[in-house]
Symmetry: C2
Subunit: 125 residues, 2 copies
């Protein structure tokens, strides 16, 4: 039986407050994907890290995993670190089909929404 | 005469490709705020840094400046580094009224658009 999961993959930070919008995003996404287990994982500074999160999902029988890089810019973390990690994870968990989505900053709808917010912030009060 | 400007303040990265969505965001925002000079500035690793960008705008006669933190999470960079920099910039440029908007990740419309993208990425092809 196919079991689907999604990981929202974010950078991580020292300040606990940093994660709050990512938790809201996870809840918003989970509410609209009831058949998919949606969780957060981090590159550094916060837990769980991506390999730990994927190992947990694999142990729970997940067979289809989508990783969404919740990064606006595609720099070394998205273009270098993440592909290396995913290549290793595919070797470690051959029964999990791991797909990596484009980074959120590549999506026109996301950029349009950020532009909407900036435009609102720039208008005289 | 009032002269308005907006700075989209982002982290910066080593990889030049990282900045591309921020440049698209700047263009989208500028197109809808024709009376406001919209530019990018960075915390680190890319130029111009925020103090340099503000100095240039002040020298050009800008009197009203809105800084939008293009950060999803509010960690040390947004909660600590940016307020310290802005306090110094207000001392250095007393004729520029500097307003700091909420970080983009605090905006419900932005999070909804990211959730839309994640939901699309999580649906079976």
């Amino acid at each position: 039986m196919e079991r689907r999961a999604m990981i929202l993959f974010a950078h991580g930070a020292r300040a606990a407050s940093w994660v709050e919008p990512f938790e809201r995003l996870r809840a918003l996404t989970q509410a609209r994907l009831p058949g998919v287990a949606v969780s957060l994982a981090f590159l550094e500074l916060m837990e769980p890290r991506l390999p730990q999160a994927v190992a947990g999902l694999a142990a729970a029988g997940v067979t289809q995993l989508t990783v969404v890089p919740v990064f606006l810019g595609q720099g070394g973390h998205v273009l270098h670190d993440l592909p290396l990690m995913v290549a290793q994870l595919r070797l470690d968990h051959p029964h999990v089909a791991i797909e990596v989505a484009e980074a959120i900053g590549e999506n026109a709808g996301v950029l349009a929404a950020i532009a909407d917010y900036c435009v609102g912030a720039g208008k005289p009060a």
